[in-house]
């Protein structure tokens, strides 16, 4: 047996070992994620309040929902949340894409400076604007307007950077030139050719932008103070504080909060289920090319 063959069999063995270790680790993490739900269903429940909920309460899911609807403005809050998250996600993705396109496709004078500006601005944590934003909103009497929550969410430098990377990898000037030859306008080229081209990048960013705006509670908390304007995230937070006082039986309170939570959790999961197959993979991102 030659030395070469020996080393090859050794490589195969380590490969197998690595593969098994990877499977074990990923299955372990999966178990950690899934276990809470399994215990929830099987009845071996951690939380004593939840345990009591199983044994004593006679509330069905439907009755719990009825109670939630009676005591909270759930449909309105859900609608507000949908409006805020939907519009801000769509417009954020669109604005980021068009900004990235302007950086990649056109040779304007301040392009390089703008590019550097985006990279610098990425490092700014979004939370530090809140104090100033609060003052701005109240000074110009713009509180309780949904658009004031949407506008700051539209500009996301990280999304612009990511889309720029993606576009640099997939975009070629030939497409642009042939479309121009056929007499398409610039906006039309972007909408009809570039946007479909960028679909994976749009999907990847849309998931996280939607998630951020769906669970965001700081900016809506300071801008939207009227009851009928509140989004679901804040409504659920306030109601879960109230529910413990409202219902004497902690089991029923826990059940009601739980059924309210379903509305809070479902939309991001549904969106993820729709978009997860489009997440970017296997595209040569970035300027490193060979």
């Amino acid at each position: 047996m030659s030395e070469n063959q020996l080393s090859r069999s050794f490589v195969k063995k380590t490969d197998l070992a690595l593969k098994i270790i990877t499977y074990i680790v990923s299955i372990g993490i999966t178990a950690l994620v899934i276990a809470p739900f399994v215990t929830l269903i099987s009845g071996d429940i951690i939380d004593p309040a939840m345990k009591a909920a199983r044994s004593e309460s006679t509330l069905s899911f439907r009755e719990a929902i009825d109670l939630v609807l009676r005591y909270t403005p759930l449909p309105g809050a859900f609608k507000n949340s949908m409006i805020i998250s939907g519009i801000s996600t769509v417009s954020c993705v669109y604005v980021s894409a068009i900004t990235a396109y302007s950086l990649v496709a056109y040779e304007w004078k301040f392009r390089r400076i703008f590019n550097k500006f985006i990279i610098i601005v990425m490092m700014i944590p979004s939370n530090i604007t809140i104090i100033g934003y609060y003052q701005l909103v109240w000074k110009f009497h713009l509180a309780n307007k949904l658009c004031m929550v949407i506008f700051p969410a539209i500009t996301a430098p990280l999304a612009v950077y990511f889309m720029k990377l993606y576009l640099e990898a997939t975009f070629s000037k030939d497409i642009l030139e042939s479309a121009r030859m056929d007499g398409a306008g610039e906006i039309r080229i972007f909408n009809k050719i570039i946007l479909p081209l960028m679909k994976p990048a749009l999907a990847t960013q849309a998931i996280f932008i939607f998630l951020d705006s769906w669970t965001e509670y700081v900016i809506p908390g300071i801008v939207l103070v009227k009851d009928e304007k509140r989004p679901l995230s804040i409504m659920a937070m306030m109601f879960s504080g109230l529910a413990a006082d409202m219902f004497e039986d902690p089991a029923i309170a826990a059940l009601i909060i739980g059924s309210l939570t379903i509305f809070l959790v479902l939309p991001p999961i549904v969106l993820f289920a729709f978009l997860s197959k489009d997440i970017v993979e296997g595209v040569q991102l970035g300027s490193v090319k060979y």
Partner: protein
């Protein structure tokens, strides 16, 4: 007729110039919205650090510190002499470092293994969804259920270690495991669990963006996996690495929701910078602004260090410099000739 043709020729020649205005038009919405809704409020926030804003909620302009008879650095002095502030900075660093290092090792290791051609790993797409699942649930009651389960799991694990140490089979002392039941440890574990999926997704994005031929070449030359990762994969996915780094740094330094689950702690074990800012914003907006400045400064410095140390394309920069020099020399030569 001739004149017209000539004009057309002149117009079509710099074709990229002609469309340059669309670059401005397309970048304009972002710039305008960013300036109005992020830059102006940020400037406002930072300006309050030099004002006197105590118990102040209203429409009037706040007064500068000097108008109230204080020196301009009064707020900075108050914040920097407070022990709670330094505790919050210390905790933020502790949590960030404790989170980023294991999270990155786990995420990148799994990403490399799952994208390795030789291993032919199956089920990456499903696992990807599962890894992000905690993040999708975070911020809701189910998220806190998940958190509490995780705490239970690691709590019972630590308890078993306790028992083992009591039996004294392995030469461990009781105190050796004290760190495993402490609050910072739990905060770090939960943060890793919540944030790990995002890092994993972008790590897979970055690794699959490297062309396969490069890996093949490295394999031919006899590089092992570790060498391939550090000398081929990481340099090739540099732009995505910058993205992942900034995402992690900003998320970690601005961490507030997971430490906040543990409520108020008298010895300030779970006080991070973001929680400090939120607590101060209730009473003293000016001190909160100082906290904001510190947060911004830390983010800028750490991201800047990463950028200049690892992610800047040095070769490209050198090339650009050389080209510029050549152009200048050419222009000078032309000038001399004329």
């Amino acid at each position: 007729m001739e004149n017209k043709e000539a004009r057309i020729k002149v117009k079509t020649k710099p074709i990229n110039r002609r469309y340059a205005k669309w670059g401005y038009i397309f970048a304009l919405p972002f710039i305008v919205l960013y300036l109005i809704f992020t830059f102006v409020p940020m400037g406002n926030s930072l300006y309050y650090a030099f004002c006197y804003v105590r118990h102040y909620i209203g429409y009037a302009e706040p007064k500068l510190l000097s108008q109230e008879g204080y020196p301009w650095y009064q707020n900075f002095k108050e914040v920097f002499t407070a022990a709670s502030f330094w505790d919050s900075v210390k905790n933020t660093f502790k949590f960030s470092i404790g989170q980023i290092i294991p999270e990155w090792i786990l995420a990148f290791w799994l990403a490399v293994m799952m994208t390795d051609r030789r291993l032919k790993f199956k089920g990456r797409k499903i696992l990807k969804s599962i890894f992000v699942f905690p993040k999708l649930l975070a911020g809701s009651t189910v998220g806190s259920l998940l958190t509490s389960f995780l705490l239970m799991f690691f709590g019972s694990f630590a308890f078993k270690l306790y028992m083992a140490s009591m039996i004294d089979g392995f030469g461990f002392e009781f105190e050796d495991f004290e760190c495993l039941t402490s609050m910072p440890f739990f905060i770090i574990i939960v943060s890793i669990f919540m944030h790990f999926g995002i890092t994993f997704i972008y790590a897979v994005v970055g690794i699959t963006s490297v062309p396969v031929e490069v890996f093949e070449a490295a394999e031919m030359d006899g590089a092992n996996r570790l060498q391939t990762f550090f000398h081929v994969t990481i340099p090739c996915m540099r732009p995505v690495m910058l993205f992942i780094t900034i995402l992690s740094v900003v998320d970690c330094l601005g961490m507030s929701d997971i430490p906040a689950i543990f409520g108020y702690s008298s010895d300030r074990e779970n006080l991070t910078l973001q929680i400090y800012i939120q607590m101060q914003a209730g009473q003293c907006l000016d001190r909160a602004s100082v906290g904001c400045i510190v947060l911004l400064f830390l983010c800028a410095v750490i991201s800047g260090i990463f950028y200049f140390a690892f992610f800047r394309d040095k070769d490209e920069e050198a090339l650009r410099k050389m080209r510029r020099k050549e152009k200048r020399e050419l222009a000078r030569a032309r000038g001399e000739a004329s």
